[in-house]
Chain length 291, copies 2
């Protein structure tokens, strides 16, 4: 059997699956209620043990927020898991379960999930973008997850969109996230991104303009990514994608406004399909690939 764990700042999700990747059980709880890394590991190991029946769980992947050390399986210092510094999570869970455990980037796993079981099915080259408080992503290149030379590929939120732009929490000036990451939108407008989108939905003119500007910047990023990677599809997930009907037209219009990207090579732009389950589904898939 396989298991995929999606460790987020608010929730932890565990999915148990057969060796072919078919999910048979899915459990979640609140991360803060577990408290420490060891308590999280013990909870996950107990849940896996409870649902595995008589079968042995051979391979587990933990999807976790970066920065992580994928080679050593260590959480470095994820901003949304305060206090979890240099936690050797893969080794801890391997000890608790006896399984082979991999630690992987959460956006990579969500992208892998969408590629195998969500909006990206049937493509070979796909860029997944998660647009929430921050902006992350995962690349599928020729049917495989591309993690890069140091395991940090897919950080699409940190492309420079304008070197004279605002400063992002990452320390860079004018990266995509600096312009349109949810946290930066909130800082700039004094309202959360959710409030902004709600106001725009209700017809507030200024809110609409800001939403349109945000979508336009996402469109610029897609132009750059299309020219560099030439994917068949972009899949956009994360909290902001819940307002799909408000952002999709401007994103697509901006992408199509590039005269350099001829119609025949325009990638499709799709909303993610798996919602909050993308990470755990991708983690199961990664556990299957690496079993």
């Amino acid at each position: 059997m396989l298991a995929g764990i999606d460790l987020g700042g608010t929730q932890v999700r565990v999915a148990l699956a057969r060796s072919d990747g078919n999910v048979i059980a899915s459990i979640k709880t609140k991360t803060p209620s577990l408290g420490t890394p060891q308590a999280m590991v013990d909870w996950a190991a107990a849940e896996i043990d409870r649902h595995r029946g008589r079968e042995k769980v051979r391979s587990i992947t933990i999807a976790a927020p970066g920065p992580i050390d994928i080679k050593r399986g260590v959480l470095v210092n994820p901003p949304n898991l305060p206090g979890w510094r240099n936690v050797p999570l893969a080794a801890m869970l391997a000890q608790a379960t006896g399984a082979k455990v991999h630690l992987a980037n959460d956006a990579d796993m969500a992208g892998l999930g969408e590629f195998h079981h969500g909006a990206g099915r049937g493509t070979r080259n796909m860029v997944y973008i998660t647009w929430s408080t921050g902006i992350g992503g995962g690349l599928i290149i020729d049917g495989k997850l591309h993690r890069g030379g140091h395991g940090t590929a897919g950080e699409v939120g940190h492309m420079i969109i304008d070197p004279n732009g605002p400063l992002d929490a990452c320390g860079q000036r004018g990266c995509l996230e600096a312009f349109i990451g949810g946290a930066n939108i909130a800082r700039e407008t004094g309202h959360t991104a959710a409030e902004l989108f709600a106001a725009a939905a209700q017809g507030n003119r200024q809110a609409r303009m800001m939403v349109e500007r945000a979508a336009r910047y996402m469109g610029f990023a897609l132009i750059s990514l299309t020219n560099v990677i030439d994917p068949e599809m972009f899949v956009i997930g994360g909290g902001v994608s819940r307002s799909w009907s408000m952002i999709e037209p401007t994103i697509v219009e901006t992408l199509h406004s590039s005269p350099f990207i001829k119609p025949a090579r325009r990638p499709r732009v799709r909303r993610a399909r798996l919602g909050d389950r993308a990470g755990q589904i991708g983690a199961v898939e990664w556990a299957r690939i690496n079993q």
Copy 2:
């Protein structure tokens, strides 16, 4: 045997190689002196025939400037080969030689050449950038050339660096090439890029500032590419790379100025090694891979 042809606006180069990729003969001539596509094909076929001895040439790749239709082997309308519109070059050369012929993007082939036999040897993920009149590139992902869903990946010159920037010949506003492509530098300054670099080398202060600005913009592009692709190395070729000692410090300094790209995951930045031969060497390699 194999052959690689590099078809440029000024020169055509043919390399003949053994099946293992070892080049045994290399010939070049001026493109305009050949005149028509058929004359070029006849010349190349005759040169290949003359140097092949008793061996049969099985596989040939033609590296050509875009836009090209790699699937059908057709040159679409390359700006630096005026009059060569919709030329079915692969089919023409296949008929003249009896070999299997592939048409490929010239920057992709130069990148492949540098990866297998030049500055990029030993890496797995490498971004090649050719910086001349225009800016192009080629991506090596996990040891293989990445051409993308429509064969147009690697167009690093057309990433948006500032959506309010100048207009490029490609029709996009504020792409990397719009800022620092040789043709745009010449248009902006009234001097060719070569003149600008010569003046900077002689200590002209304004020229130095412009060169530094150009190198800084290249550095911004490398930040974006590092965050998206996470390569181990950038290899920079093309005319501008001849002024390596003038551009390298600022490019590297800009890349290293990103606090988000920690020292451990900084890609190396290297000057291309194969010079004008990169395209033909890459084309031989592609002929070998696809024989």
